[in-house]
């Protein structure tokens, strides 16, 4: 009995360790740096120790010093608000385009012969074998005024002057969708591959055409895959720096660029930190709300 109890206690503490280590890791690599960034964001750029305590005590006066100037600046300056809005816009368009392009892709891989699936998945992941920078740069060679596309169209005589493809919304979105497509396909594939095909048969049996069966059964059942894929695309897309920098133009400003400017051109770390904190909140708030909604749903279906 005693031995069993001790074994049980050991198992319980073992479980705590196993869960605890990743938590500790997240604490050290995510929460702590974020707190540091948040601390810097409320300091000023002149002379003050950016990592000093925000609470000070002198002459019987306990003071809490939080400098909100950077935040006020962000919310009063149209440029920042515009950049946030356009970041969200491009991230949203990218997510929708990835979903539209990725869903049929994932669907056909999931419905392919079992033997063919690994090869097809490999093709989706193949681009990862080349440097990300190189792949984005390659689009320059395709879309430039002297690039493959314009060259070909000129040779065929379909156009007289090169089309301005580079440094436009078009080139930016092509690059974004190209880079993020696998992150949409993989979770969708995982979801679609484990769907019960008898449910499609049941729908067909009850009079649903293949098209209706797809919209009424396959799509609703893949909701969690769609959400996971959309998150994996949308969140990194908001903060994307390299793609808008290489393929975007003056009219496709995204927050990554502003961040870079604040950090390395203006050298204004507090301002840059404030911009970062707002980005994080921008992503965290909808995510938390969504999580809460899901938990509530799960609770409701259990009751």
């Amino acid at each position: 009995m005693n031995f069993l109890r001790r074994l049980h206690a050991a198992a319980a503490s073992g479980r705590r360790t196993v869960i605890g280590i990743p938590y500790l890791w997240l604490l050290l690599t995510f929460l702590l740096p974020f707190l540091i960034v948040a601390r810097i964001s409320v300091s000023d750029s002149e002379g003050e120790d950016p990592l000093g305590s925000i609470v000070s005590y002198a002459d019987g006066l306990l003071s809490l010093k939080i400098r909100l100037a950077n935040y006020l600046f962000i919310f009063n300056d149209e440029l920042y608000l515009y950049t946030y809005a356009s970041s969200i816009k491009y991230a949203l368009i990218t997510t929708v385009l990835c979903l539209l392009a990725g869903y049929p892709f994932a669907y056909f891989i999931a419905r392919a012969r079992t033997a063919a699936r690994p090869a097809l998945l490999m093709l989706v992941m193949l681009p990862f074998w080349t440097s990300f920078l190189l792949r984005i740069y390659a689009w320059k060679g395709i879309l430039d005024n002297q690039g493959i596309v314009n060259h070909l169209l000129l040779r065929l005589g379909w156009i007289d002057a090169p089309l301005p493809l580079m440094h436009t919304e078009f080139s930016l979105l092509i690059g974004m969708v190209y880079a993020y497509l696998p992150f949409m396909i993989l979770p969708l594939y995982a979801n679609l591959a484990k769907q019960d095909l008898r449910l499609i048969e049941a729908a067909t049996d009850l009079g649903a055409t293949p098209w209706q069966a797809f919209w009424r059964v396959t799509v609703p059942l893949s909701r969690s895959g769609i959400i996971a894929g959309a998150m994996l695309v949308f969140i990194p897309a908001i903060g994307e720096y390299v793609i808008p920098e290489l393929l975007g133009g003056p009219r496709t400003l995204m927050i990554g660029h502003v961040l870079w400017d604040e950090f390395f051109t203006n050298n204004d770390w507090p301002m840059a930190s404030a911009v970062t904190v707002v980005v994080v909140l921008l992503i965290l708030v909808p995510m938390t709300m969504f999580n809460q909604y899901q938990a509530a749903q799960a609770q409701r279906s259990k009751a």
Partner: protein
Amino acid sequence: MTTELHGIVAPERGQPFLLLQNLVKNFDGVRAVDDVSVSINKGEIFALLGSSGCGKSTLLRMLAGFETPTSGDIVLGGASLVGTPAYRRPINMMFQSYALFPHLSVWDNIAFGLRRDGLPRAEVAERVERMLGLVQMQPFARRKPHQLSGGQQQRVALARSLAKRPQLLLLDEPLGALDKKLREQTQSELVNIIEQVGVTCVMVTHDQDEAMSMASRVAVMSEGRIRQVGSPGEVYETPSCVFVADFIGNINLFPGQVEVDEPDHVVVACAEGPLYVPHGISGTPGMPVQVGVRPEKMALQAAPPGRHERASDAEHGHNCVEGTITAISYFGDQTHYAVQLAGGLAVRVSRTNAARFDAAGLARGQQVFVWWDGRDAVVLTN
């Protein structure tokens, strides 16, 4: 002759309604269904019975429209179904383990087919409510399938497949997902509902009890072919071949050759001596056959049976063999005896424990006589 046997007088229900004509289905050169022809009457419950891989499920899937026959025809109510896609067939299926839509409530599951037909909202609601009433699931209309027990899911699946008032209902292992106690109760409930609705029904099962107790006719299948079609009584009491006799229930087989072949009786010579069967067969002397006797139709006793106990004088001296009891299995309602016969065969005899005290007092190792009425024996060819 058949009317003497119990359970065989099958109710003749209506006209042939569903015809399968020379149906064949090949999968990559493997023949799953091999030249199946059968006619099913309006309003009957028809069971396809066989072990896994016998082609029964493929047959059902061809009826539903999920598989296309390699050759042959399916005719329902006079019109061929081949070429009609599954979603246009007036046929609905209750799937094995039900295939209820997990993202829809019970109500929406039942309404699914009605909505695909574009019925007006009010009529959908009315018919769903009626179906819920039929299977007594009204209180659970808003639940999702995973919140229901197995038995409740089965009722929803039945309601869903009946909601469109199909001309033909297909049941794929209808009780396979339920545990034993629930199965017996659900079985009669299911038959009641089907008969109440009056729909023609084809079911597939590997469980002979299920097929025998639910169906009005049973088709025994093996290796893609139908071996015998008949009422449950017919396939049990007059099996057409050794396979069917062996597949349905238990049977003791005595291999031998036809010795005397008269129009009114045959005598078969086997290792245990000559066996007398008081009816003619289509065969010739010397033909190898097997005489089959069901365990419950055999009598077992310590003393040799007297002349007055035998059915006819002609049988005297026949259909009685000697042996030793090697095992006794007691099941409460009945007891099974394994008897090693003098000629080398082993037979199984079952006795109903009609009284609480067994006067016979048979024990293991005891010398006994096993005998039967020749009319209870069947002559089978391979």
